[in-house]
């Protein structure tokens, strides 16, 4: 019987250096070889954002179990790219959730500023890591990192759709 595990090539974070970061790609040295225009993709963007798979064009270079173990400079460059590729505002406070024409209109404060968006009733999902995702009618996702740490009013409003 073939071994499933052998299908995944794990990369050692100590042997990876990010050399350059652009909008959605990086130049990276992997095990002594330099690759340009590499896209770091998150296979589990919400539940395990620390895991990355590096793609050079169609070629899969390997899986990085936790990019946070990269050296400080590489990590900073990597996070700059990831923050664009995976732009997900984090909700800090919920001002209101109102019913507008069959949809729920949320007015919230996020780490990126105030925003108003609409959702359907089934829009909040609890992830195994305790984080919540809220998906709006346009498919955009927002995080609630630690629901218990929201203020009481925000918690009450959130519980309506949880």
């Amino acid at each position: 019987m073939p071994d499933n595990a052998s299908r995944v090539k794990l990369l050692d974070p100590r042997r990876i250096r990010v050399l350059e970061a652009r909008l959605d790609s990086i130049d990276v040295e992997v095990e002594g070889k330099v690759y340009c225009g590499v896209r770091p993709k998150r296979p589990f963007p919400h539940s395990h954002p620390e895991i990355l798979i590096l793609y050079c064009g169609e070629e899969e270079l390997g899986l990085l179990r936790d990019y946070r173990r990269l050296d400080a400079h590489s990590r900073e460059l990597m996070e700059r790219v990831l923050s664009i590729m995976y732009f997900v505002p984090k909700i800090r406070k919920i001002y209101s959730i109102k019913m507008v024409k069959g949809r729920y209109e949320w007015k919230v404060l996020t780490d990126k500023g105030e925003v108003v968006f609409q959702t359907w009733s089934k829009c909040v999902r609890v992830l195994p890591n305790g984080r919540l995702t809220v998906r709006d009618v346009d498919g955009r996702v927002y995080y609630v990192e630690r629901p218990d740490e929201l203020d009481p009013r925000s918690r009450l409003l959130l519980s309506m759709l949880l």
Binding site: P2, K41, F44, I51, Y55
Partner: protein, 735 residues
Amino acid sequence: MGDGDEDSSINIYPSREELPPLIAEILDEDEEVVAVAKTDLVGSSYGEEEVVLTNRRLMVLNEKIEICLKLSEIKMASLHSYVNTCVMSIDTIEGPRSLVAFTKARLKAFESLVALINNMAVGKIPYKLLKQHLLSRKELESRRDASSRVLLRLLRALRPAWPLLVTAIAVSVAVRLVGLVPPYLLKILVDEILIPRANIDKLAYVALGLLAVNIVRTILNTINSYLNTRLNVSIANTLRFRVFSKLQELSLSHYDKFTSGSLFSRVVDDVNRIQWFMTGSFAMLFINTSMIAFIGITLVTLSPQLTAIALTPIPVAVLGSTIYRRLASKYYHKLWRRWSKVISVVSDAINGAILIKSFGKEPEIGYKFSESLSEFEKAQLEVFKFEQKIWPAVGFAFTVSNILVWWLGGTQVLEERMTLGSLTAFTSYMWMFYTPIFNLVENVKSMQIAAVAASRIFEILDLDPGIEERPNAKDLCLKGDVEFDNVWFTYDGVHYALKGVSLRLRAGERIGLVGPSGSGKTTLIKLLLHLYEPQVGAIRIDGIDLRDLKTSSLKRQAAIVLQNPVLVDATIAENIALGKEGASPEEIIAAAKAARAHEFIMRLPEAYDTEVGTRGSRLSGGERARIALAAALLKDPRILVLDEPTAALDALTEDEVTEELERLTRGRTTIIIAHRLSTLRFVDRIVVMDKGMVVEEGSHDQLIKREGLYRKLWEAQLRGLVRVNQVSVSGRHAR
């Protein structure tokens, strides 16, 4: 147990003693009746004949034996359908013969009878087996009606909630008793203060008494509300959990018997009705009884004569409630069946959304929904009309008695045989007396509703799970040697999907299972995975009967990928991880890579965290198939069953997946069901099934040489390919 009143279905008699005398006396010593069906025509006139199927012969009786055929003479039984009537015919060795005619009201019974005759005479299925299945189905149906002591059972089932229930009832009784004090204070006020215009100091006590009563009542009411809220949640959760757990325990055969709407309705609506009864009406039974006792004593103390008049309408109320109890369940059963149908249509419309939209069936489903709603409305009106025949008459009797009390009481006050305060208190108490009586009558209604709801819930709780795991079942590490030993299986007790299948797979062997639709391939694998149990024969893995193997052990080491896999409404990662509890992200990715799913998953913006939607509706059939395959592979099963694994894939992907399957299945006992015979190019052996039986076995080359069913299937596929080529060639020429 002959169901004389249910002639529309076939009649079964468990023992000779229960047979109708006419049938019993014509039987030979060792002859046994399998089933009886009654016609409703004799020739072209209304009348009744009985068609009796025994283990030896088939007879038509009309006071005497009209026709008698030995089973050995029968080649085939069949039905011929006309405008309103049907005729049952028998092909005998001497030629065809029409036996009886009947209207379509009896069609169901005769369809079953014909299937039984063919199973016995043609299929050679042992009659004892057939009869045993029919009896077990009958028993299940009869159990549905046995709801006489259902409320007592309900109480027993709610044992954990008893302390809370008793406390809530005690507090409720206390609230009502405190409410009896104000009319007594009113009597004191009228007789001792207002009329004599004296005892002014007592007025303050009366006022303070009223205030105290209200304060106590408010406190008790708050406690009462709190207890009732807790009781509500406790009862609903206890019942829902029991029903839900039972549903998880049941074999798939039970899911075939109920619509999804009907099951939803039991978990949601019936539990609500019981919850409403237990926290409302059941407590009110005690409250009302104690109120009737207390107020009754007070009334007799005030005026025995007026009390006698006040009691006169009670027999009318008792009579009304008795009639109601006798008839109400019929009306309410009907009402809820209609409601289940409404829910069923909604649930089908949601679950089958893709199918309905792709076929443009929205108007039809809309019509079906409005039809079910209007049927529900009709049933509701019938309940209303039925209730209107009883309750207004009961109400009128109370009104008459009330007028009499006023007239007689008024006369006694004028003649100074009774004080005004006593009459005022009496009339206040009398209304307080009627209210619990009326409530008690209402309690009977809700008791009836709860009894029906409880019987529907017990119908589920009483079901035999259908899958037998013997007490000493073992948890084993399997090698994967599989044996089907003379396996017979029927879903409905009449039509056999598998007829004596014997098949052996060595550990690690890969076989292809082919055959026309309905030949029994999928049934065979469902039995192997212990989703159903064969009625005859055994299935063994590594020489151990499936019933001696822990279900959990089998489920851990065997996996299936269905033809149209249904995913759960979760993320892709969660769907793949169903194959192994606590699977790491790397394991999930590795399994997806093995199933050729990783590439398309990583193209999705949210990759493995993408939500697949209800039943996986946001993905294509091919994508769903690959995710299901990944889940199966994550399990690393010893036994792998693939039901049409490439059916939803395009030709290129099919080729890739087939190649991959060849590697993935190496060393695993594998059964692959395939209509596309090209998928089976790597299997060790091909097994051909037809009409529930294994008809051919061998390699591709051996089967082609044999010129049997496999060769026909192969040639039909080749012809199809040639036709496709011709179309594409002529298309190119036309361009």
